[in-house]
């Protein structure tokens, strides 16, 4: 913005993007997309991963420069060259990944975000002003607490408060509720909605949760593969119609029906305790039994010990005490035990936890069996040909999109990395399956395929432990539901009898 130009109008204002086109080399990320956000409205931006939602908002915020197209802010055409220009116009963005500094206090984070941080900060005065600001705000955060010590929900509130503190009046929220319990999500979105209704704020929210779109948004814009697929008033649309617009004509894998009854106990945890990297107890004496032909879902907001529990089961972390048994035998996560009991693991962030990024797709698929016949002779002479033959078969069977079996696996998209891990882990017999957030960040097609595979493994008699932050996924797949909070299992119910509000309350620790 040029100095001396009129300041942005007071109150809420709208933003229009007209015929936005964005090219990255040969790839067309946005193709003449139009977005119209009315002043004082709550607008939802829907689309699958890779549909261009993030690219579109990053063009609005000045991180990217659109190849073509114009942006109108409050009805005036603006050239937004960088995020600072966008901030000066009153545009703010809350990112999916927190931009707070964890080792600093909430107050330090808020003051630091200002453009005019004084050379020497007068903390007593700043604290007084911050408290006065908070008193006007709908939600509270502990100013003196370190960000690393507050809950994910409070961090998300902090991110939003930071934008309001900076007097931004057009907020872009990128999947703001992915780390919140349903109750927290409703609280935060409800308060923002109130501010929108009062005409103080305009909100553009990227999301994939139809429930939130239906409950809070006025208008919706749907993108598919870089193109505008649909737009309209939420009140005139149904979730089904929106989902169809998002996916287009793509065929989804059909999930097999739930068949068979649970059998004998396969995976037993008795008073398992583990510490996190900082040395604090993250998993607090948990006990659990998963039976054959049963999916047990572990629900909880991230950071309540789920990660450490899965790491113990995967052999990435030592349990401090307690006992794990698989089919009655003590289990210490050795390769031999995993092989003997046909254990499979789908850890979260598969590229980091289940793959070697620089090695080929074929090598990664062979990790479990690479030193056995037919992949190896005498346990050490590797038969590269057999790797490729097996990989080709699994690439076709699991629809892994890769140029060749020899492509490094890090070159694949998230969904295809997860498919490759799925091929390795579920390709043979499975007696115990441990899956952690298996669908995080994946598109509909990949999610449908992974859900179908997990259900099929269950029907074949596998004991499945499914750890997920996505409550909908757990309600859809699991037979039993357990809620983890502060490292303990605080609630258990048959999924068919589970009450969503009770589950949500336990997730929040009430």
């Amino acid at each position: 913005m040029i100095v001396g130009e009129t300041p942005p109008p007071s109150g809420a204002f709208g933003v229009d993007a007209i015929a936005m086109t964005m090219r990255f080399g040969n790839f067309l990320a946005l193709d003449k997309v139009a977005l119209k956000v009315r002043p004082g409205s709550f607008h939802a931006l829907l689309g699958e991963n890779g549909a261009g939602k993030s690219t579109l908002v990053k063009c609005i915020m000045g991180y990217y420069h659109a190849t073509e197209g114009d942006i109108l802010v409050g009805g005036r055409e603006q050239a937004i060259g960088n995020p600072k220009d966008a901030h000066a116009l009153g545009l703010g963005m809350v990112y999916q990944h927190f931009t707070l500094v964890p080792a600093m206090t909430v107050a330090e984070n808020l003051v630091l975000a200002r453009d005019d941080v004084p050379a020497v900060v007068n903390w007593p005065k700043e604290m007084k002003e911050l408290e006065a600001f908070l008193a006007r705000m709908p939600f509270k955060v502990p100013l003196g607490a370190k960000v690393s010590d507050i809950s994910a929900g409070e961090r998300q509130k902090c991110e939003i408060l930071k934008q309001l503190y900076l007097k931004r009046r057009f907020l872009i929220l990128d999947e703001p509720t992915s780390v919140l319990t349903p109750a927290e999500a409703d609280e935060v979105l409800g308060m923002l909605r109130d501010m929108v209704v009062r005409g103080e704020l305009t909100i553009l929210m990227i999301t994939h949760k139809f429930r939130e779109v239906m409950a809070f948004a006025d208008d919706v814009t749907i993108l598919r593969r870089g193109k505008l697929a649909g737009a309209g008033k939420v009140s005139e649309l149904t979730p089904d119609a929106m989902a169809r617009t998002m996916i287009g004509a793509e065929e989804l894998t059909v999930q097999p029906p739930r068949t068979g009854e649970a059998g004998k106990a396969r995976l037993e945890l008795a008073k398992v305790r583990a510490r996190d990297d900082a040395g604090a107890i993250a998993v607090h004496d948990v006990s659990l039994t998963v039976r054959a032909g049963e999916i047990v879902g572990i629900a909880g907001v991230s950071g309540n010990g789920q990660r450490q529990l899965v790491e113990v089961l995967a052999g990435q972390r030592e349990a401090e005490s307690g006992e794990i048994r698989v089919a009655g035998d003590p289990y210490h996560a050795s390769r031999e035990e995993m092989r003997r009991h046909n254990m499979s693991l789908l850890p979260e962030e598969p590229l980091k936890n289940a793959c070697v990024g620089g090695m080929s797709v074929a090598d990664n698929i062979a990790f479990r069996e690479f030193d056995r016949a037919p992949f190896a002779s005498l346990g050490w002479w590797l038969n590269r040909g057999a790797f490729r033959v097996d990989a080709r078969k699994k690439i076709a069977q699991y629809k892994i999109k890769t140029r060749t079996p020899d492509t490094p696996i890090s070159a694949l998209s998230g969904g295809n990395v997860q498919r490759a891990v799925l091929a390795r882990e579920l390709g043979g017999d499975v007696e115990v399956l441990i899956a952690a957030n298996p669908c995080f960040g994946l598109d509909f097609a990949a999610v449908a395929q992974i859900h179908a595979e997990i259900m099929a493994a269950r029907n074949r008699g596998a004991a499945v432990l499914l750890v997920s932050e996505d409550l909908d996924e757990l309600l859809e797949l699991s037979d039993r539901l357990v809620v983890m909070f502060h490292g303990e299992f605080v609630y258990e119910a048959r999924t068919s009898e589970a009450d969503l509000t009770v589950v949500g309350r336990h997730m929040a620790g009430h």
Partner: protein
């Protein structure tokens, strides 16, 4: 007991004197490294900076006759070496630890080369303040002869502690060190912040070097530094990146370094070299006690390459 002989009391007194005298280079290097590491980068080259600082301080003091100009020259030399480190590290895919090791060897090598003609002449030394005037015992007076640089260093520790909390620069350095994403999202240049932090760190380490050549031991030779620079880097980790703890840790290391000579002076000669190794043994012991494979270090800046 004869005059001037205070028996075994010599040992704790010498350790105290040593804590004050020997700790000064530790203190400056560790405070400098503390600033650099809080910005998210490790500069292992401070050993080289220390030796270069010692050489340039001695040279300038000899040429101009003013030891304080020597101190300034040492600081500027250190800042330039810091800028070199930061400059190389700001290139893509450069590892700061490897660059630091290279600069450590470069700094010491260059100092030995340029410092050859300085081994013979005597340069004016830094003055000291006599805090032991009230005592008749020479050992007490020797122990309490305190250099001004030590006092500056002692004052600097709480100033840094305060600055990390309450100044814009302190907050920005911490942001760059804890989350470069957050710093970038706020529109700051992480590379620029780290360049400045590394230069200030180098400046302080250079001053630490000037103390070696201009006060204690107080001459220029190739055996001047016995690894104080690199020990001080380890000391920052031990001090959990806290300037105040850096002060206490420096005093402890200074005291440990004075143990060997102190015991020798009272006639304990067996194991002299072993006692001389006390600071290094202390380093190892502290590392073993405070490190664990099961958890990360508390207080470590998240962007540091050793903690990522």
């Amino acid at each position: 007991m004869a005059d001037g002989s205070i028996g075994l009391w010599t040992v704790p007194l010498a350790v105290l004197g040593g804590a004050i005298r020997v700790s000064t280079p530790f203190l400056f290097v560790s405070l400098g490294e503390c600033i650099t590491e809080r910005s998210g980068r490790i500069n292992l080259g401070l050993e080289g900076t220390l030796v270069m600082g010692a050489m340039s301080a001695y040279g300038i003091s000899y040429l101009t006759g003013s030891p304080w100009l020597g101190v300034l020259a040492a600081g500027i030399t250190g800042a330039l070496l810091g800028a070199l480190h930061a400059g190389i590290c700001s290139l893509p895919r450069v590892n700061d630890v490897a660059v630091g090791i290279a600069l450590m060897l470069f700094g010491t090598g260059l100092a030995f080369y340029l410092g050859k003609p300085l081994i013979e002449p005597t340069a004016p030394r830094l003055p000291a303040i006599d805090f032991g005037w009230w005592s008749d015992i020479p050992q007490v007076r020797a122990a309490l002869r305190v250099n001004v640089l030590f006092l500056i260093g002692v004052a600097l520790a709480p100033i840094l502690y305060w600055a990390f909390r309450t100044t814009r620069w302190g907050l920005l350095i911490r942001t760059a060190g804890e989350s470069s994403d957050a710093a970038r999202a706020m529109g700051h240049s992480v590379l620029l912040i780290r360049l400045r932090a590394t230069m200030v760190g180098g400046f302080l380490a250079g001053i630490g070097g000037s103390f070696l050549s201009l006060f204690y031991p107080g001459s220029w030779n190739e055996g001047l530094s016995s690894g104080q620079g690199i020990t001080a880097v380890a000391l920052v980790i031990f001090a959990r990146w806290d300037p105040l703890l850096c002060l206490w840790a420096s005093l402890a290391f200074g005291g440990a370094a004075a143990l060997g000579p102190a015991l020798q002076s009272v006639g304990v000669t067996s194991g002299y070299h072993l006692f001389n190794a006390a600071p290094y043994i202390l380093t190892l012991a502290i590392m073993i006690i405070t490190c664990s494979p099961k958890r990360t270090l508390t207080g470590a800046p998240a962007e540091l390459s050793i903690t990522r």
